[in-house]
């Protein structure tokens, strides 16, 4: 990682921009604090040296492809981010021939803040099974092989609580939500032109910032991601009040995995289970 990865990305970006294969390379650069990474949009081959890659490269840049529809774009993705590419391809939000994927094998990103960086891995990296991107046109780094970690330990722990305790827990979380919608803005799966939460007719959710409405917002958003969440956990990272959204999203991810043996974004053409009817599907409900 580090210098070597950075150089490979810069070289590839330079080549792509110079030969006109892409109009823009979306990658990371070091922010103005000189410590942490931020997204960078490079349009000129002369500027590729701005690009960098280190263990603070946390953002899921696939989100930005939604603004580049129809334009040839290269994007730097980590393993987790890469699943979003397949999600958006299967939902026809991006076109494969317009996207050049620079896939970086990522051992994990660390907790960081403005002008500071710890050596502690982010929470999501502890359950990560996707260090190597599922899709890439240019691979950076060698695939990592390791014993796959337990994925849903925290979800399982949550499930041991009583229904009342869980309700209390989520009510407390909902009370803290300030409805800033940062979770939605960071999520590659959230791309509706008009989000249900902002509709006034029908008014699915009141605009009042209050526990009931907040709870409704977080729940429906989780359901809209059921069978679609690729667990990059960007929503939880950007939440300014630290609501553990991954507990919701990954609960649904686990349910979908158990019922349908399906994980979103693992391939471009696997049929999404919640919109696929199979005659002989046994969900264990009938008997």
């Amino acid at each position: 990682m580090g210098e070597d990865f950075t150089q490979q990305i810069r070289d590839k970006a330079k080549e792509l921009l110079e030969n006109g294969a892409v109009e823009c390379v979306i990658g990371y650069e070091t922010g103005s604090d000189g410590v942490s990474a931020r997204p960078a949009f490079i349009y000129d081959a002369a500027e590729v040296d701005r690009l960098a890659f280190d263990n603070t490269c946390t953002h899921n840049l696939v989100k930005y492809l939604l603004d580049k529809k129809g334009k040839s774009t290269a994007v730097v993705v980590k393993g987790c981010d890469s699943r979003a590419l397949n999600l958006l391809l299967s939902e026809r939000q991006i076109q494969r021939d317009k996207v050049y994927v620079i896939g970086v094998v990522c051992p994990g990103v660390v907790e960081w803040g403005w002008n500071k960086r710890s050596e502690q891995l982010q929470k999501r990296c502890n359950w990560c099974r996707q260090h190597t991107p599922v899709v890439s046109d240019f691979a950076v780094g060698e695939p990592i092989t390791e014993e796959p970690p337990a994925e849903f330990a925290d979800v399982a722990e949550m499930a041991t609580k009583t229904a009342e305790d869980r309700a209390t827990f989520w009510r407390d979380q909902a009370e803290r939500c300030i409805r800033c919608y940062a979770c939605r803005q960071a999520c590659p799966g959230c791309y509706c032109i008009d989000c249900f939460v902002e509709l006034l007719d029908p008014e699915w959710v009141g605009i009042r910032i209050a526990p009931d409405e907040n709870w409704m917002w977080n729940t429906i958003r989780a359901y809209h991601l059921g069978g679609r969440c690729i667990s990059c956990n960007e929503c939880e990272r950007v939440c300014p009040v630290n609501i553990p959204l991954s507990l919701l999203n990954r609960k649904l991810e686990q349910e979908v995995l158990d019922l349908f043996d399906y994980k979103a974004g693992m391939s471009e053409d696997a049929p999404a289970p919640l919109i696929t009817f199979k005659k002989d599907e046994n969900l264990g409900i009938a008997e």
């Binding site: 026809r92 939000q93 509706c192 032109i193 509709l199 029908p202 008014e203 919109i275 005659k279």
Partner: protein, 665 residues
């Protein structure tokens, strides 16, 4: 501001006996936007409908709630009522106070409170109703009949005789279906071929019928009045335009293979017609078994012994009709209506270990016995044991093989077996007076005109011994078959030395019935029998408009039923094709282009292929609904995350205002 009228029905005592109707009327009067409320003994009566019409005019109502029975019962009635008073028929909402309230509750007080809630919700919904208008679409006045058995033949002849063009598709080389394999038909003992063959010939000669034998339906697109169907025409390798059906080729072909038509009891040649009366009476070449084809395959590898080049048919054909270059092809044709008459196949009895699992040559199926009894069959009508060609004397019949048996996944009754077994018993006695028949049965189902008399005749006149009970085992003992069973009426075990055992195999959906049903977007049950729109009132319609079903493809049926259903389906097709344009139901889904993100989850869930792609002026690809195909099921509405799809008549806004009215009351 809306002026809503509420009309509460007593339905005699059906509603009024439980629900306090005057109280509901008073409560309705106090609801927002309600300008008028009244009650009727029977709102659906002429008097009741008149009171709605009068109130619309006198009270200047612009929306109507009828609180009565299920909308499935009378929604259309009341739509017409409000329309005659000048309102758009869709400015109506039904509150179901009968099925959803009075019929299922006994506590009058609580039922009345629930009835008021129902009315409250209906008022909230109807306030958000909009005028809807049906559209007209054109139609192609041609019909496709799939399946050339007796059902399909009847349907095709009836539609064609009404003056419409018909294409009849049959997957086998000849029409005729299962009926052409039968010897006689119960209960009149008409010769099956004698009554069927003329109809087969009619099909071939009718100026309005195009017969596509040896063909299959592959793909169906479109909607009622405007179907587009891909039909696969398999390669016959014989030019049927020039072939005269003289028979030289199939008489001289040296390659003999087992005949499917004779169910393994006889042989046919590689170039063949399945049976003597086949229509068209022109052969096809079975490419698997043709010697020339084997030779051609050999020339590619030159491995093994060189087979003879053969081509005898080609050399002998007086009209030079052998067409080795023929390829299978797909033709696309347009139709206004489709009839599915794909029939049935018989149950494969080899799953029954106790009956020998298909190992004993003298344990045969009833259909095989038909072939043995048929004058055109492999034994020319002489009933001979397959093992040694002797005349069987003791013949045991076993009923319900693959019927009424949960163990083999066939719990249903195949309906015809009791009767055809009685026929066999009578016929065998006529063939050979020394024959003694034994019939093991569960019970005898002989409902139908002259059926019971016929079944009695087998016992009283032909001397068949009917034993109520199942057979537990059959085993070969020298030349005879030992049949061990039980006569449950006297509670004793029975052992019979049989020369021949005939299994009354039941009816199963034909091969591929489920695939065809999926292509046509019609329902089928777990046994792959097709499902009609209503088992009593719409027996030949399906949930897909313009697709009709008939015959044994829907379930076990005998010949008269199949013919009747063939004609019934034809009547429906003729009615449809007699129109100059079709009116579409306006209760369809509609896409809001500005909200659609083009993820096409709607397309994935739509059972009717009604979602199409459309490019907006700013170049976005979004969904749009083909209103002719849309059935208004609402699946797409649920799948749409941005809420870009709404269902007319059941919009999100309408449903939400119902719910909110209830939770905020």
């Amino acid at each position: 501001m809306s002026r809503i009228g509420v009309f509460v029905c007593h339905c005699g005592t059906n509603i009024g006996g439980i629900v306090n109707v005057p109280e509901v009327v008073e409560a309705a009067k106090a609801m927002p936007l309600v300008a008028y409320a009244d009650e009727n003994k029977y709102t659906c009566s002429e008097v009741g409908q008149g009171s709605i019409r009068d109130a619309i005019r006198e009270q200047k109502l612009d929306r109507v709630v009828v609180a009565a029975c299920s909308p499935r019962m009378h929604e259309n009635t009341f739509r017409k009522t409000v329309a005659t008073a000048g309102l758009n028929p869709y400015l109506l909402e039904i509150a179901n106070l009968r099925e959803h309230c009075s019929w299922v509750h006994s506590d009058s007080k609580k039922a009345t409170a629930k009835a008021i809630d129902h009315v409250r919700m209906a008022v909230a919904k109807v306030a958000r109703h909009e005028s809807l208008f049906p559209k007209q679409v054109g139609l192609t006045k041609r019909a496709l009949v799939i399946g050339g058995g007796i059902t399909g033949i009847q349907a095709a002849l009836d539609i064609a005789s009404a003056g419409h063009e018909v294409v009849l598709v049959e997957k086998e080389p000849s029409v005729g279906g299962r009926m052409s394999q039968l010897d006689k038909t119960f209960p009149t003992l008409d010769c099956s071929a004698c009554i069927l063959t003329p109809k087969m010939v009619d099909v071939a000669q009718h100026p309005n019928i195009t017969l596509l034998s040896y063909s299959e339906v592959k793909e169906v697109r479109g909607f009622v009045g405007n179907f587009e169907v891909d039909i696969l025409k398999k390669a016959k390798m014989v030019d049927h335009k020039t072939c005269t059906g003289c028979g030289t080729c199939w008489q001289k072909c040296p390659e003999k293979v087992t005949s499917e038509f004779d169910l393994g009891l006889g042989q046919r040649t590689a170039i063949y017609i399945p049976f003597a009366q086949a229509v068209p009476n022109k052969p096809v070449i079975d490419m698997e078994n043709c010697r020339y084809q084997k030779y051609l395959k050999w020339t590619q590898t030159e491995e093994g012994k060189k087979p003879p080049e053969c081509r005898i048919c080609e050399k002998l054909c007086p009209t030079k009709s052998i067409a080795w270059e023929q390829q299978e092809e797909i033709v696309t044709e347009k139709f206004g209506a489709l009839v599915v008459a794909t029939g049935f196949k018989t149950f494969d009895h080899s799953v029954y270990g106790e009956y020998g699992a298909g190992r004993y040559p003298d344990v045969i199926s009833s259909l095989q016995l038909e072939r043995l009894m048929s004058a055109a069959g492999p034994t020319e009508g002489e009933v001979l044991r397959p093992s040694d060609n002797t005349h069987p004397k003791n013949i045991v019949f076993i009923q319900c093989v693959g019927s009424r048996d949960d163990k083999v996944g066939r719990p249903y009754c195949s309906k015809v077996c009791c009767m055809y077994t009685a026929k066999h018993a009578i016929m065998l006695k006529e063939h050979d007076p020394e024959v003694q028949c034994y019939v093991f049965y569960i019970d005898i189902r002989a409902g139908g005109k002259d059926f019971e008399e016929f079944a009695r005749r087998a016992q009283d006149e032909s001397g068949a011994v009917y034993l109520r009970g199942r057979v537990s085992q059959i085993y070969q003992d020298g030349k005879t078959l030992k049949v061990l069973g039980e006569d449950s009426l006297i509670g004793r075990p029975v052992e019979i030395d049989a020369d021949l055992v005939v299994l009354a195999t039941g009816m199963e959906a034909s091969e591929d019935a489920d695939r065809l049903a999926q292509t046509l977007h019609i329902s089928y049950n777990i046994y792959n029998f097709l499902i009609e729109a209503h088992p009593k009132l719409r027996p030949v319609e399906t949930q897909t408009d313009g697709v009709f079903v008939a015959g044994a493809a829907v379930g076990p049926r005998d010949i008269p039923d199949c013919v009747a259903h063939g004609s019934a389906a034809a009547a429906k097709v003729i009615g449809l094709l007699s129109q100059d344009s079709l009116t579409t139901d306006p209760l369809t889904a509609i896409v809001a282009p500005m909200k659609c993100v083009g993820c096409f989850a709607c397309k994935a869930v739509c059972p009717f292929n009604a979602i199409e792609e459309q490019t907006t002026r700013d170049g976005r690809i979004i969904a749009s609904v083909n209103e002719s195909l849309c059935k208004g099921c609402g699946l797409c509405v649920v799948a749409c995350r941005p809420g870009a799809i709404n269902l007319r008549g059941f919009t999100n806004q309408q449903l939400l205002s119902e719910v909110m009215t209830l939770v905020r009351r």
